[in-house]
Assembly symmetry: C2
Homo-oligomer: 277 residues x 2
Amino acid sequence: MQPQHLNAPIGVFDSGVGGLSVLRAIRRQMPAEDLLYLADQGHVPYGSRTLEEIRAFSEGITRFLLAQGAKLIVVACNTASAAALRYLRETFPDVPMVGMEPAVKPAAERTQSGVVGVLATPATFQGALYASVVERFANGVKLLQSTCPGLVARIEQGDLDAPATRAILDDALRPMLDEGIDTVVLGCTHYPFVIPLIEEIAGEDVRVIDPAPAVARQVKRLLDANGLGRPAGKRGEIRFYTSGEPAAMQSLLPKLLGEGGLVRAVHWRGNLALEKA
Amino acid sequence: MQPQHLNAPIGVFDSGVGGLSVLRAIRRQMPAEDLLYLADQGHVPYGSRTLEEIRAFSEGITRFLLAQGAKLIVVACNTASAAALRYLRETFPDVPMVGMEPAVKPAAERTQSGVVGVLATPATFQGALYASVVERFANGVKLLQSTCPGLVARIEQGDLDAPATRAILDDALRPMLDEGIDTVVLGCTHYPFVIPLIEEIAGEDVRVIDPAPAVARQVKRLLDANGLGRPAGKRGEIRFYTSGEPAAMQSLLPKLLGEGGLVRAVHWRGNLALEKA
């Protein structure tokens, strides 16, 4: 492994475009950092994969990002974090890593009504990480859960405010609002892209917890602790990769990220992610 | 392989509950037949899997259904048919098989306006089977395509008439209606469950082509040709299997099929599908 350097990029990955919500937050807090983003759209969604598959994909992507010089890895996918983060930390003990976990703790601390809505994928709700977070932090707070069927598919298409996207959220949130939620936890990195819609439906008295800014702060802390933060200066560059269709992802970047960029193709050969020639 | 017998069951499989639309049509046309249905919900959706994976799943399921005595196999999934039907026919040359293909031919024959809408998953539109069907049968007819993002996920949840399901269809169909379609092809076995919604949105002048009855007729022809049709008599039995959550699927059966039943669990061990003890 090459030595990590403060001018090296931060590597971020997700099964699709959801992790761009985390990349965006990192970009806002650390604009001088160079960034790598890999969307494993050839395997999206991860939710129906076995633990072994998700670990193999996550390891292959991490190796790819490290080969591009990444100094820190952000697992910007709740499913991959639950399935593979511990495995990645064991496999790459020298690499600083940050992952996602459902923000049940801050929600439980802040709720006044004692009723919190959690939006996440079925894989996240079924996983041990969620059960552990609930057990440790939810005490006394009533959690209402919805998997928002179809929402990830709409966001992967860039449908951030189409009537269908609104209807999916309306379906998920109405019963929660009827039960008195005052806080909504976004347990999937795709969901921050529809915060405007969620706020419209839920009204201004309901607080929506986007985990991305807290994850970006954790990235900053970890970089600083390792002396790896890039000094303020000119704006960093972003390199995008997908194992799916580069053109499709490229057309979504301005809408999701507020800036465009070239998307490069990677392909899988066995457990190796390789850049296409 | 055991000898096929006219009292043996027909084996039907899909990645999820979509193939129940085909099972339902078979049940209507051949009520005396015993039926096996396997939903590979542990792997749903197939759309993001490689050809090799889909072939391995389809072969494992076919072996499982044959081991339960199936006399004919119905690949009640457009993705699996496109990826694996030819492979299955080569692997099991003595087993009568029926698969799905998008009903572009009957649509092209019947359309008056010359504009036809096709609803299918991305995997189906990208596959060679669809390209071949379009090349052979669409001549002169304008085909408008939509992948209905999120629709399969809603139907897997049993949301057949929720506002969100309607909105997804509305999103897909409005632009097609504006362009003058008079025919809609359902290129995914999940979609017949929302025909009432499609008809509500599209109006009575638009004809919706559900492939299931034609597939059931093909099953009947193949049984008759092989002397394997069960004589009319008492109503046949259905055995359901899933590699996902039996309770979740069981709760959907009355809504999707109009009759209930016990759902048994199967699990995958390597490339073998096995009934859980």
